[in-house]
Structure formats: structure tokens, C-alpha cells
Amino acid sequence: MNRLWWTQIKAVIRLEMKKTFFAKRGLWIYAVAALPVLIFLAYAVAMSNQQHRSARIARESQKPLSYQDLLAVKSGMTKEEVVAILGKPPLDIHWTEHRPTGPGTFEDIDHERLQYSDGQNDLYVELSHEKVEGVNVQDTYNLGQDAIVFAGVFQFFFLRLAIFFGCLGIFMNLFRGEVLDRSLHFYFLSPIRREVLMAGKFLAGLLATCTIFVTSEVLQTVAFLWHFNPHTRDLYLYHHHGLEHAAAYIGVTVLACVGYGAFFLVAGMLFRNPIIPAATILVWEFINPFLPALLKQFSVIYYLKSLCPVDIPVPPGSTGLLALLISNADPVSAPLAIIGILVVAAIAIMVSSFQVKRMEINYTSE
């Protein structure tokens, strides 16, 4: 690449960035990117409240409890036995159930729920007729479970929907939006090669999508870790690959922007109606797990899934179809996945280059 082209690319990027970041029609992309952050923030607030509540319950206990104490309660015990182990419950709820026993006859059953906490884990003891019927221990710090939820949100919402549609909104409009605005001739009347213009626009789109979605990803991670205590957070980040996972998610986000960006750049040039290519690519990405091995390779999600740092376990009892969708039956190695995405993107960019050279300004036909 010669110096002139690079100067021209920078000029295109400057112009495009202003349009992309401050365009009213692109506001929904910010909303889509912010949605998972809001979800994790809401979750963090809810968990934080629950932790405060657990801490309060733990303070109100007759004696300091350990996790082992909470696990000592079993079904079939009497209330006295429970109180003997854990002390007087800080929270004790009573209610009576009128259970029908026959036509017009009822039996009154006394229920009671006791709640204990060690400050981090809550114990719910369900009693009926003074006997323990059910025991439920809930962790307020279940990092493993939360990491899987985070991975699920990342794979099934952030990658497949937020970044997908965000890239659609930005990259499809790089040329198509200007055709609709009838302002594309501004670029076509400049002493700039069409391929250089396309490279500039692609990089501008990439910079915009990466800024929006990487920021979102970083904020999601911060929100996700917000409610953990500093000790748990440090343990996760520095001893349980938390930092590596965060870096991997950012890397996958960037690669998703590259892959989907290239796809939508070419789609914006080949199709007048964005709904058709968007729906086609969405379906193509969705059915990827069911495709033959060769066809799988012409997809972005195929490579991205392999790069995601946390595998999502298939819920027990899931149907074959759902299990296939969730699991990554045929993963590729990380270097191969990165090269695969870059190759798919390069092919799409080459098609775009060819297409942009053939483009004409004929706004009346749009």
C-alpha cells in the first residue's frame, strides 16, 4: 500500500466515523450493545441486594454459621433438631394451607419456612407439621454458574444477535446508506481508487463496531464481576483464567465484527433490500451446526464458537436439535479459527472490491 492510499484511507475514516457514531438512524445499535450490559447490571444489583440480605440474616442468627452447618439440615428432621443445629431462625414464615380431602371437606396443614445464612449462602428449610419437607441451599457467590450464564448471553445474544445486527446496521449502510441519501457521488468524484475508498469505509465500520461492541463487552465483564467480593473477584481473574476469558471474549468480539462486517459490506453492495441478505445470513448462521463439514467453514459463527473460552453444557433432557445447537461438536483450533475468519472476510472484501468498481451512480433506480 502506498502512502497516498493510506492518507486517503485516513481521510475516509475521519468522514465516516463522524457519520457512523452520530447518525440518528444508528442509535438502535447503541441500544442493542447496551442491552446485555443492562442485564448484567440489573443482575449485579439484584445479587448485591441479596448479599446484603444474606449478610443481615447471618448477623441476626443466634450463632455464627458455616456452610457445613447449613448442609447439616436434612429432610425428615424436626424443627427442634434444626434449631438445635442452627439456632433460632432469623426469618420464620408461617402459613396454613386448606387442602381439600374430599367433596366439601378440607384439612388444615401448617407450613413454615425457616431461613438461615452464613453470609454468602442462604438456606431455606420448608416444614410441614413441624417436620422438614424440603431443604434448599442457594449460593449468592456461584461464579462457575454465573460464568456459564455469561457465556450463554455472549454466544446466543451478543454474538448471534447484537453484533450480527449491529454490523448489519453499520456495514450495510456504508455504501447503501449513501445511495439512499443520494450522496455517494461525493466519494466517486474524488481522485481516489474505488478499492481504497472501500478499504477506508470498511476500516471505519470496523473501528466503529469494535469501539461500540468491545466497550459493551468490557462493561458487561465489569457488571458481571460487580457483585462479587474483592477476594472472589481476584480469585476468578488471576487464578481461574478470568482475565484470559475476558481477553478471549474481546478477541472474539473483534473477530465477529471483522467477519460479519465483511459479510454485510458485500451484501450491501449486492442487494437493494437489506432484509433478504440479513435473513439469509441469519438463517445460514443458525443452521450452521446442522450443515455438512465443508459448508460449515463458510460461516462466521463456526469459527467464533470454537474461540469462545467457556463451553456451555447441554441442559439435561434437551432434545437432539437443541443439544446440537448449544454444543460445539466439531471445534477447530484457535489459530485455524482465526485464520478461517480472516480468510472468509478476505473473500467477502475481494467480492466487495470487484463490486465497488462496477458501481454506478443511478439514484433514480433506487
Binding site: L4, T7, Q8, A11, V12, R14, L15, K18, K19, F22, A23, E178, D181, R182, S183, H185, F186, Y187, F188, L189, S190, P191, I192, R193, R194, V196, K357, R358, E360, I361, N362, Y363, S365
Partner: protein, 312 residues
Amino acid sequence: MNDRIVFEEVSKFYKEILGVNRVNLSIPPGITSLVGPNGSGKTTLMNLMTGLVKPSRGRIQVLGINTDDAENLFKFVGYSTQFDAFPRGLTGFQFIYSYLCLSGISAQEAERTAWEAIQRVNLVDAASRKIGAYSKGMRQRIRLAQALAHNPKVLVLDEPLNGLDPLARAEMIALFRASAAQGSYVIISSHILHEVDVISDQVILLSNGYVVAEGQIQTVRNEIQEHPTQILIRCDRPRELAAKLFASEYMIEASIHNDGRGVLLKTKDADRFYLALNQLALDGIQIESIAPADDDVLSVYEYLIGNEEVVR
């Protein structure tokens, strides 16, 4: 480098619709006007010249440069289009400045050149305002500034005087003349011949996608006058009328209309024909109607210059 703008057998079709057909042109330096009614192919010709559309057939070269080669072409060409749309949110200055930056020049040079161009079109006061708030005339002028900004050798201007007040028109015309005097190629389109014939060194007359006349303004006028005109006359004795008119030297062809109630005449001197026809009417032939039988160059010309200049 070739010193002409050359069209060789150029045709452009928008699917089934004809843009221009079999155009052969060799445009020299100076002011050249493309004149024709709306839809005659003026803008298509300009878009072809600047590579905004590709020819369906034929070849175009601007000073020896292929119109596909935007990187080199627009070093020499500036085009003020009729498209009244601009990149969103830009001020007049930013519009010109961004355009210049795209050519790869430094920010300082782009800024200096942009202000020069804005001064040339007298838009300094409005330069820091958003283009969206400009009047039609101001938008026209900022487009001209864009076309002029890099001092191109070839200036292509699509209806450049549209929306300008008389003073601004005079200023713009002076600008075009100054450019042409420096050896530039100034290509102007207009649908009114009056507007451009005084300033044009040559005129290209277009109708329905065809170049119907080309050359210096006087040559075009003569060419049009020599072009045969077809006229359909409805009368009670068509055979007698045909025989009498055909005897005259300015008649080329006479034929009885299919329905037998009229005569189709082709003349190369419409003025003398009409005088003779008046005489025949006085001799007793009942003439019901006289109508031009084709959409020929004369009718195009008549449309362009206004009826008062066609002497009949």
C-alpha cells in the same frame, strides 16, 4: 496526453431505457455547452465523462485518461453535479475541505485551498454554516466550489446557473470564461440555448439521447436550417397541392397520406415553403390543417431557443 475529451460510438442504456446512443464527440478546450430538453441525455453524457456511469458500448477518454481510472481522472476533472445531496452534517467549509483531503493532500494545504475555492464562489460568510441550512443558490455555489477547488483542467458543470440570481450568474459566467481563457475545458449543460450560446465556444445539441448537431454556435444554427422538415397538410385536393409544391426547388419529397386526405411533404427551406403555401391557399385549395410531422431537430431547436427566433 491526448488534448481532447473523446467519445467513440458511446451508448448508454439504463436497462431498456436509452440514455444516449452512438455518440461520437471530440471536445476541444474552451467552453462547450450541452444543450437539449429535459431527458435528452445531457446529464448521462456528463456522468459518462466522469465515470459515474459506465458506457454500455463504446469508449470514453478524458485527456487520454480512461474514465474508470478515478485516481488519475479527478486530478484533472471537477464535476458539479445536479444531485442536490451532500454528506450529512457538514458545513460548507468541511464539505470542500473533506473533498480535498480525499485527494491525499495535507490538512494545511486542503484548508488553504478550500478557503480559496469558497472565496471564488463568494460563500465565505456562509462557509461555517451547515449545508442543510443553505438556500438552493448557495448549494449550487458550494457544489461549484467543490468542482473548482483543485483547479481542474476539465470543469464539468451540470446546469450550473440553475437557482442563481442574476448577479451570481454573471459572476459564475465570468468564472467559466476565466477558466476557459486559461486553456481549461469547461463543459456546461443547459436546457436553454439562450443561457449559454453567448458564452460558448461550441455547442452540442442533444435530443432523445442523440447528438443532433455539434460545433460552433453559428455552424449549429446553419446545420439546423439546412435540415429537412416534414410537414403534414390536410386539404381537399392533396394530389394537386403535392404537384404544385413539388415543382419548387426547396421541396425534397412529397407523398399522399395513407388515408388519401393529406399530403406529407419534406422541405429543406421551411420559410419559403410556408410562403408558397399561403399563395396556394389563396388559389382556392382548402387547407384544413398544417402540422409538423416529425420531432426533428428544428422542433428541438425551436423548443430550446423559443418560438420567436424561428422565422417562418
